[in-house]
Amino acid sequence: MTTPKRIVCACEDVNDVELREAIEAGCADLESLKRLTGFATGPCQGKTCLTLARQMLAEATGATPEAVGAITFRPPVQPIPLRYLAGQEGDEA
């Protein structure tokens, strides 16, 4: 019997089996794991998946979640329409 796959990153459709395979392929830090699997690169930018991925990496490497740390967070905090940034008129979202 196989264990069902679990979604870790819903934005980019990355599951726990893919993360585990990437860790086995040598990703021993979150930045490498992000770049190989694409987790945390979608619209939520890691808000839902980072904790799960960190937990998986900590369990696999024997490090504490604190030692695993976090990815570098990039601006903006929330996705922003281009026309707001361009200073154009428009309805508030």
Binding site: E18, E21, A22, A25, G26, C27, A28, D29, L30, E31, S32, R35, L36, T41, G42, P43, Q45, L57, T61, A63, A67, V68, G69, A70, I71, R74, P75, P76, P79, I80, P81, L82, R83, L85, A86, G87, Q88, G90
Partner: protein
């Protein structure tokens, strides 16, 4: 997913070649060497794979250049990119949608007509298009004010992360020693040659800024390649070699994913804006920032965000409601003539330079890594090395203007 992307276990005491920098150039030259039978190669990456410009660039690949020395490298790299997925056994997401350079005044239109003639005389099938055809190529384009554009359908985009990961995996498969979180901190010199490389060892989880302080390990070697990107000048200085390279920050943003609607990469010659739609559907955009100060900085600026958003909506007004998802910064390694530095160093012959690509290093890396591998192997490179050697910056040197530097 199969294979590994880095090597484990202790370093050997001696390697034939040590490559400083685990980006597209460092891994690329290691792969060429290994394919030629030289597998006794160590690649040192001081952080995680893709930490430098190889993981921070926009993935543009174009043969439309204004000087012969850049054109040849870029033109002949395109077929190598086309075959790369098959050769690496790893999808690098190459898509040839062309590049469309937009000129909004007669002077720039004439300059484009001149470079198109230059391209056509040198094996690049670009063509001048009028605003009507530009609109056909990009239905969402605001062609108002466009006087002319140059279009080369063979140009395209690639996913830089996948290229570097594919190269790393293939290097490891071929027997190359690829070490992440291991930097070069010094060279042991003897009689004008490098005989050893001091390395950091240690790995810290999730923090590329620190090393764990477990001490330095020296490895002996015959040849060192300096493929350290924006840190190349510092690496060369460790051997007493002065490079004229200057690191300059460049920022990029990416939007949420959309259905495919933008085939070519758009370039606006008024402001250095470039925008492509990547294979995930996201828009990837950068722009020239006047007054950017030299130095290695990966900080994001709101000035960039505003400038690129305004410039983008000017040429693609339909994407105003599309959301910016993420922005980041990297650093170009800029030379005085915007051409890379390739080959041996005066005074330290076994320090081979592979850097200074001035913002287009990724797109020319198939050729530059091949050339440098040929130099190390004692083979004749596919092009004359003279225009790229470090010693070109001698007395009486005059830079040939490169008109198609953007961003």
């Amino acid at each position: 997913m199969t294979g590994r992307f880095s090597t484990e276990g202790p370093l050997k005491e001696r390697y034939q070649v040590v490559v400083v920098g685990g980006g597209v150039n460092g891994l690329g030259v290691a792969r060429h060497l290994a394919l030629a039978g030289v597998t006794d190669v160590l690649v040192l990456e001081k952080s995680y794979l893709l930490h430098g410009a190889s993981g921070r660039n926009g993935g543009g690949v174009r043969a439309q250049w204004g000087t012969m020395d850049n054109l040849v490298l870029a033109r002949d790299s395109i077929p190598m990119f086309r075959h790369m997925s098959a050769e690496l056994g790893f999808n690098v997401w190459f898509r040839q949608g062309g590049y469309l350079f937009l000129a909004h005044d007669e002077e720039k239109a004439k300059a484009l007509a001149d470079v198109v003639r230059f391209h056509n005389a040198n094996g690049v099938n670009s063509r001048l298009v009028d605003p009507t055809e530009a609109h056909v190529l990009v239905p969402d384009l605001n062609a108002q004010g466009v006087v002319a554009a140059s279009y080369h359908p063979g140009d395209g985009i690639i996913f830089p992360w996948a290229v570097v990961q594919g190269l790393a995996k293939r290097c490891v498969e071929l027997g190359v020693d690829v070490r992440t979180f291991t930097g070069a901190t010094g060279f042991a010199m003897k009689g004008g040659r490098i005989v050893g490389v001091e390395t950091t060892r240690g790995r810290v989880h999730g923090d590329s800024r620190g090393q764990d302080g477990s001490g330095s390990v020296r490895v002996e070697c015959e040849t060192v390649v300096n493929a350290a990107g924006c840190w190349s000048r510092e690496v060369a200085a460790l051997a007493g070699v002065a490079l004229p390279n200057t690191p300059v920050r460049h920022e990029i943003l990416v939007t949420e994913a959309l259905k495919p609607f933008l085939d070519p990469m758009l370039v606006d010659l008024r402001n250095g804006l470039y925008c492509s739609q990547d294979m995930r559907g996201e828009l990837v955009c950068g722009i020239g920032m006047p007054g950017e100060k030299p130095g290695v900085s990966f900080a994001s600026s709101f000035a960039f965000t505003k400038r690129v958003a305004s410039a983008l909506l000017d040429v693609l007004p339909s994407v105003g409601d599309v959301k910016v998802m993420r922005q980041w910064a990297g650093a170009y390694d800029v030379t005085p003539d915007n051409k890379p530095i390739l080959g041996p160093s005066p005074g330290v012959e076994n320090l081979v330079q592979l850097n200074g690509a001035s913002g287009h290093g990724f797109m020319i890396s198939p050729m530059t890594t091949r050339i440098v591998a040929d130099v190390i192997l004692g083979r004749k490179p596919p092009v004359d090395l003279a225009p790229y050697r470090l010693d070109r910056f001698g007395p009486g040197w005059q830079p040939e203007p490169e008109t198609l530097v953007i961003g």
